[in-house]
Subunit: 238 residues, 2 copies
DNA sequence: TCTGTTTTCGCCTGTTGGTCGAAAACAGGT
DNA sequence: ACCTGTTTTCGACCAACAGGCGAAAACAGA
């Protein structure tokens, strides 16, 4: 059970790490985690482990990344880890224990074991899902301006993003709605920005990202194991 | 370690199941699997387990689905399973042990434990990845006609697919190339179909499925942890 | 009132997915 | 040989969407 908790801090994608005090890999930075309890599943376990490091209420999204199980990924003992991605919105600043700190994903310190690889996978998962889900909600405050959201996307994706395009895509997908309010202009003036929020604060996959989709049938979909998800012709009868 | 091995058989998506002879859940059908060995990672372990059920050379793709860890998913013992998706091309017909058989995913028999849920997740993963990867290569024979490939997609996706559209999408993405040869016409005549094959027989994600993609910079990409994957402006300097 | 700044909106463009129908290429029967 | 039925292939058309650009809107400060 390991968690790569990511947050945009100071315009940079950062990960919460913990400095080991004991061998092996003493002094190196590791992901927070722990062992699976008897009466919990892996996700509950991760949330419990994280509660010791950060305020759980700040963690807006948790999802499995993969199992890491190379025979000697940790010296001396056989340890299989289920890795998770956790996200914290940019306006939260949870108190962390003295041995833990945030580090930019782009410039990691000496990391323990295979944790650098796990962090890379978590970052890649985040980047991919920003494209075809509403996962931005987990990085952003409840309400925000398009410029602020754009900076979050830039930090997470690692490349420039057009504010115009970002707004259009998210609103066309009905993921974004204006609150009606406006933010105060900056110290150098400028038109006050409109405030927005995400419509849902739970993961939702954009339906139209799938290619070869079924024709848009007029609703009426059962939900058995073999059914097609989005209506459409169940199968052309021969 | 559990594997949902899927194959299109007789125009239907089927899964390889194994009938339990012992309690618990005796008589019910279960996914093949086993325990992780000391000198292998989970993927190697799954391939080893599968070797007892089917010829490994027939398995064209294996990938992790998720960890299933509900406390009492298996009665009496605490068992955490890493679930896998395995794919077998439609032209293979591996010999299977007497207690195992293929079953249509749409009409499962009585399944053991939480295996029905795992099969559903595996099926959904396959369906999703058919959209934005070349994963079709794992379901299809080495060479095939568009009509044959269309039938595979129909069976896997559970809804109709246009042959024209399928061909255009796959060729535009450079996933499909004509072999030059043609197949024999059917008994009722008809124009002989051109034969095709997949360019790669390893998983490749379509690069352009990502939205908010970076501007197409003229190549030159480093590969550090913080780098952007596809070239493009690393970040607009403030 | 004028200038500089930031946001917002509309317009244009190229690409892609989806559909349809005509043309091509075969087998079999007359 | 010719016609019919069948299957495949290809081109044309349409709609939706991502991406980019510049003008207009709305503010602060001089």
């Amino acid at each position: 059970m390991l968690a790569a908790v990511l947050q945009i801090r100071a315009g940079t994608l950062q990960v919460l790490l913990w400095q080991r005090a004991q061998e092996p890999d003493s002094g190196r930075w590791a992901l927070p985690g722990g062992r699976l309890g008897d009466d919990e599943d892996v996700e509950a376990s991760v949330r419990r482990q994280l509660a010791e490091k950060v305020d759980v209420r700040d963690v807006t999204h948790v999802e499995q990344i993969a199992v890491f199980s190379a025979p000697h990924r940790v010296p001396d003992v056989r340890l299989v880890a289920t890795a998770f991605l956790g996200l914290v919105p940019s306006d939260a600043d949870p108190a962390v224990p003295p041995d833990t700190a945030w580090h930019p994903v782009a410039r990691l310190p000496d990391t323990a074991f295979d944790h650098a690889e796990i962090i890379r996978d978590a970052r890649d998962r985040l980047r991919a899902k920003l494209s075809y889900t509403n996962l931005g909600f987990a990085l952003a405050p409840r309400v925000f301006t398009i410029s602020a959201l754009r900076e979050l996307y830039v930090a997470a994706l690692g490349h420039g993003v057009s504010a115009t395009n970002l707004q259009r895509i998210l609103t066309r997908r009905k993921l974004l709605v204006p609150t009606g309010g406006t933010a105060l202009p900056g110290p150098s003036g400028g038109r006050p920005a409109a405030e927005f929020r995400f419509t849902d604060r739970a993961l939702k996959v954009t339906d139209a990202f799938a290619v070869l989709r079924p024709p848009p049938g007029p609703g009426a979909a059962g939900c058995g194991v073999g059914d097609s998800p989005g209506g459409g012709t169940p199968i052309p009868v021969p």
